[in-house]
Symmetry: C2
Subunit: 193 residues, 2 copies
Amino acid sequence: MVDFVGTIISGMVSLTKIMPDGRIQMVAMLRPGNFLGHPYRTQASYNAVASTSVVMCGFRRQPFENLLRKIPELGQGLLEQSSKELDAAREWMLLLGRKTAREKVASFLIIFAREKVAQDPSFLKKQMHLDLPYTRAEMGDYLGLSLETVSRQFTALRDDGIVDPQGKRGVTILNYAALLSETGDDADGGWLA
Amino acid sequence: MVDFVGTIISGMVSLTKIMPDGRIQMVAMLRPGNFLGHPYRTQASYNAVASTSVVMCGFRRQPFENLLRKIPELGQGLLEQSSKELDAAREWMLLLGRKTAREKVASFLIIFAREKVAQDPSFLKKQMHLDLPYTRAEMGDYLGLSLETVSRQFTALRDDGIVDPQGKRGVTILNYAALLSETGDDADGGWLA
DNA sequence: CGGTATGTTGACGAAGGTCAAGTAGGGTGG
DNA sequence: CCACCCTACTTGACCTTCGTCAACATACCG
């Protein structure tokens, strides 16, 4: 386990778990602003994988914990983020345990689409282009699916006129509302509209 | 979402997520000492279900947050617990996304067996009796399986001489090492021996 | 302009879900 | 104390979904 902690400045980091026989599950997608590594150690073994080039602001664990003792507000921020990650993890548990392949892929795409909509709500009504930072295989690792099944769901969603895959990593969301309804979640998933 | 937080004194509480069509996934098993409810709110919707009768020590959210500001050590404890829960959630994501039904059931049983072994290491070599606080259906909700599949895995493990189900909620672990090897995890899962 | 990565598609099989019937505990009331 | 009932559990038959294996297509890179 790494002996440092830090916040991500730019790029994306994925945390993965691996079974002895090689099966992989991605367990977190960390974005700029997110904190990497547990303050007050935990003996959990993840593998951190940078999906894109990453800039981090790092500390060694010990000095950081001292800092944390000096500035309690820092700890509060970490607690908030930890709580959010916990919520995200549990949301993902529902996906992994109970959703169908189609629902999984739709949910995955909605994550990125929702982010874009949050930046500019006018995308709700327009079609929008996304650049996915993952290969089919990586999406599979994230969704608990084989890469072939991910691929098949992409073409199924394309055939239904909901998305339009472009090149290796591009997708155009043709119908946000339809995609949303394919996630299996409640109308708005309890999120922002 | 509830407007209070608190620690569990005795009993077990399960957090579940439900999809609009009724599919259920359990996302956490909280035990005595665990904290329930997010300090610094998060708008995540869980359903809290008491599997046994429960005694809690509760606070309304607002006064608790004031208390938290006064006593930073409190926040540190919460951060630690939150980190542990996050680890547990991610461990479970691996289970939900990548393990087979048999591995899932074995992993589930090992949780309780390990706890017993931690209390008294001599159980490592003896057979031990467990009282599971869940029905087959609840285990299914926890493992992302149907109750029938859970049942079938129990009988399969019985036929293999690894466990011996007794009555509705009892199990005797006949061979801890064999059960452990059925979880798909590394020899000791990176835990205590 | 080839070559390697990644993506698509098809054929097939296995794991697990669903539906349905039957069984066993455990608790209640006669 | 026993009959009954309700709930949980088991087991079987069948079917859907998804994984696996394999061939092929396409894009990206030097």
